[in-house]
Symmetry: C2
Subunit: 146 residues, 2 copies
């Protein structure tokens, strides 16, 4: 059942790559920061539940996790050639294969997070939240300025 | 066929209300502005196609429109009680029923826009783009500071 959920989510999101276009560099920077910010808000709501700061709510957990999955696919279109700047370190562009690999790992963890949220128990959510948070941190440590 | 597409999209998005939570007023303002900005980027890509500024691409049109539909549901959670500010006029809160009505109309136009994008011709896209842009403007005219 878990595998089916993961596959279904992957199929859903695989049909929605980000097709964003930018006239100016600053538009791309604003776009990627906005997409990551929206994702972070919903990821934060899951974290509050995983940590017990707010009561566990299975329906809200699913909703937030589904939004995280959707948003996880969007930011990368905003890191195109010539869009250096913002909080991004220059190695986003000079080590782009590694950047894309870590971005893809986060997307994969988000899909697993949404599947875990559908299990309906806080223990599953907590484990998947931790794994996803780790994938955020791995990329931020290498590619984001503090 | 068009009706089926609209229903399918409505069902897809109806399962994903925004369940965002905010510790601070500025977080809510940042969230709604970010969500609206991401939506505007993808709506702008559709506009460029509708206006002939970039070549019509049926697949990209569908992708962008599906993202617009998804994003159209998110911003409203960021306009909760006590989050006055940003570009929002005070009447978002004092005339909240009207605000919600116009927001809902835009969500409905976005669903029709995505159905039009799936028709695969630029004329359908152009007509639906215009209607959706009108629903953005109607709300901005009443509720957004310039």
């Amino acid at each position: 059942m878990k595998a089916i959920c993961i596959l279904a989510l992957a199929a859903l999101t695989a049909s929605l790559p980000a097709a964003a276009q930018f006239a100016k560099k600053d538009d791309a920077i604003d776009y990627r920061q906005s997409a990551l910010s929206v994702m972070a808000t919903h990821f934060g709501s899951l974290g509050a539940m995983a940590k017990g700061d707010v009561p566990y709510d299975a329906k809200a957990a699913q909703e937030n996790a589904d939004i995280v999955v959707f948003m996880s696919r969007l930011p990368w279109a905003g890191f195109g050639p010539g869009t250096e700047g913002g909080k991004a370190k220059p190695n986003v562009w000079t080590e782009n294969a590694k950047f894309k690999e870590l971005a893809g790992k986060m997307e994969g963890e988000a899909v697993k997070l949404a599947a875990a949220a559908k299990q309906g128990d806080v223990a599953s959510l907590k484990a998947a939240f931790g794994a996803t948070a780790g994938s955020c941190k791995a990329c931020h440590d290498s590619f984001r300025n503090r």
